[in-house]
Structures are given as structure tokens and as C-alpha cells.
Amino acid sequence: MKNPPVILSLFFGFIVLVILVVQSVFIGAGTVNLKSAPQLTGQISQILAAKGDGHTLPTLGKDFKLSGTTYLQNSTWAVTEISTLGNYPNTSLAVLQSKSGVYQVALGPGTTFPESVVDNMPADISNYLHLKGAVYVPTE
């Protein structure tokens, strides 16, 4: 065998090249594995991040907690109470609608919502928000 170290280096260089080609062309992107969490956790985290700096995702149990989640309209809608944790805790409501099996925030988070908006939602949701005292009639 002539100059084996060179041949071996070329061979392993070829392997690395094949791996890089497979990674970029065949696989195309990194795989994202999301951790299991209680229902609505991810969606609320996303909406809180979007309302904040957008660059950090709040964590359930550390930055916020969810309570009193109620599912309505055959679980196609959900209303949940979000309590942000920290020095200045705040509690608000969010209304979410399930689309293709994943919930999306439809209203909120907020403490009260205008009657004109709430009354355009399905009757169950509207009634529930009225019962919660989360509906106001604009004064002007």
C-alpha cells in the first residue's frame, strides 16, 4: 500500500463530505422534539413571549401558571386563567380555539373584553365570559 496515511485521510475526508451532503441535502434541517406538557402550555408561552420581548419563552411553573381551564363547545374552545409569577403577579384570561387539533389564542390575554367582541363569539364562550365578569361595555 502506497502512502497509507494519505489514502486514509482522503477516505475519512470523503466520509465527512458524505455526512455533510446527507445532512444538508437529504435531511435538510435539524429535528425539533417538543417536551410533553399540560394542555395549552406551549400556546400560552408563545403568546406571552410575543407580548413581551419575543426572544425568551416563559416557562410554566416558573414564569406563569394556568388554572381554572374550562373546555367548551366539545373542547373546540378553551378559557384559561393565566397568572404571571414574579415580583408583580398579574392574572388574566385567554380564550383559545382548537384548529386541526392544536389550540390558538383567539382572545386575550386580558382581564376584561368589550361586549361587542365577546358577543360575536359562540354563545357558550360569551356566556362564560359574562359569568366571569370579564366583559365591559365601553363608556365612550
Binding site: 435538510g28 434541517a29 429535528t31 413571549a49 419575543g54 367582541v117 363608556t139
Partner: protein, 224 residues
Amino acid sequence: MYPQNSVRRVNWWAMSIVIGLVFLGLYIFYAYRVVQGTGLLTITTSDLHATITISGNKTTAAIIGTGNTKVRLKPGSYLIVAGNQGMQASQVVTVSKGNKADIKLQLVQPAVIPSPDTVSYDNVQTLLDYGLNPAQVANVKQVFFQYKTSTKTISIDSSSVKQEPHNPAGNDPFKLDFNATLDGTTVKAVVVYSSFDDIQMQIYDPSSGALLYSGSSVPTGEGT
């Protein structure tokens, strides 16, 4: 001795090549499994600085990139949200095995629904300094909002905040007075409280002393 060493050296080269080929084969098998078991999602946004996040059904959320990105995902439905400086866009996307999906997100300013959270407050810290707790301050904001839902800014006059005398031996509630300016109009507020959450609040015209509004907090979840 020399020929034996030469054979050993050749064997080492051969073994290295075999190991390399086995590793390559395993990697290609792994890549095949990944491609067959996942879908490729390509996301483009109208803002190259937008942070892109993803969540699924009963999962946490994760940041997956900025601007434009590609990810491989297990089959299922996912909520993709892109946001930057208050602009947002979101879309639910369904990913299936071995397929590709492309989505384009156009970031827009979300419609702002007036609520106590959308009002801008100045010097609200003063109320905390005078003994109200964060829940009571939130309720003060709520009552101000009930009084005038179109209010955009509320400025509390720190120098006017005054705790009324309170007899610790009696059952009288605590009282806190202060002036506040609501979009340029000054009012006098009196907060009355005896528990950690609920408050009663009256809003007066400071010049005439006329009662403009009287409201109380409705803690979320207890209904009316």
C-alpha cells in the same frame, strides 16, 4: 520481522476503513429513518428579525429560529408564531411523514382591544409604596378602566397620595387618597379596602367634590 509488521499495519488500515464504512452506513440509515419519520417544515417571515416559536398539542413551546428557518418535525399539528417588536403572525400547520410543508408569515400589528392592560400608567409604584399590594393595584387599574374604558394614560400624582388615619383597634377599613390624571383630566380617587384583594374606589371631581364613579373590583374567577 519486517513483513509481519507490514501485514499488521495493512490490517490496521483495513480495520479503519471498515469502521469508517460501518459508521457511514449507520449514519445513512439514521438519516433515512429521520427523513421517513418526520416532515420538513419551511417557514419564511416578512421580518428577518422575527423570532419564530413552535408548540404542539400538549407540548412546551420552543424557539426554532429567526426570520426564515427550516425544521424537521414529527407528524402532527403545530402552532407557529413569529413576532418582533409587537408585530405578530401565527398559523397552525399540519406536518405528515416524509412530506414537506411551506408557510409564509406576514407580521402585522395585532388589533389592540382596550383593557386595563393596554392603559399606560405613570407612578403606579407609589401605590405599592403606600401599602397596597399588587393585586389591589391591579384592582385600582380595573376600576379606573371601568370608569372610562377609552383611557390611554393614567398618571398618579405621587405627591398627593395620602393614607387616611386608621384605628388599628377598630374595624374601620383602610383609606388611601390620591389625585390622578386620566388623559389630561385630573380626578381624585379614594381607595377603601379591608382585605388583601377587594377594594372599593370612588372617583371625584377635585374642584366640585362631585362623585363621578364608584366601583369595586371583581376578582377574576369569582363572577358577578
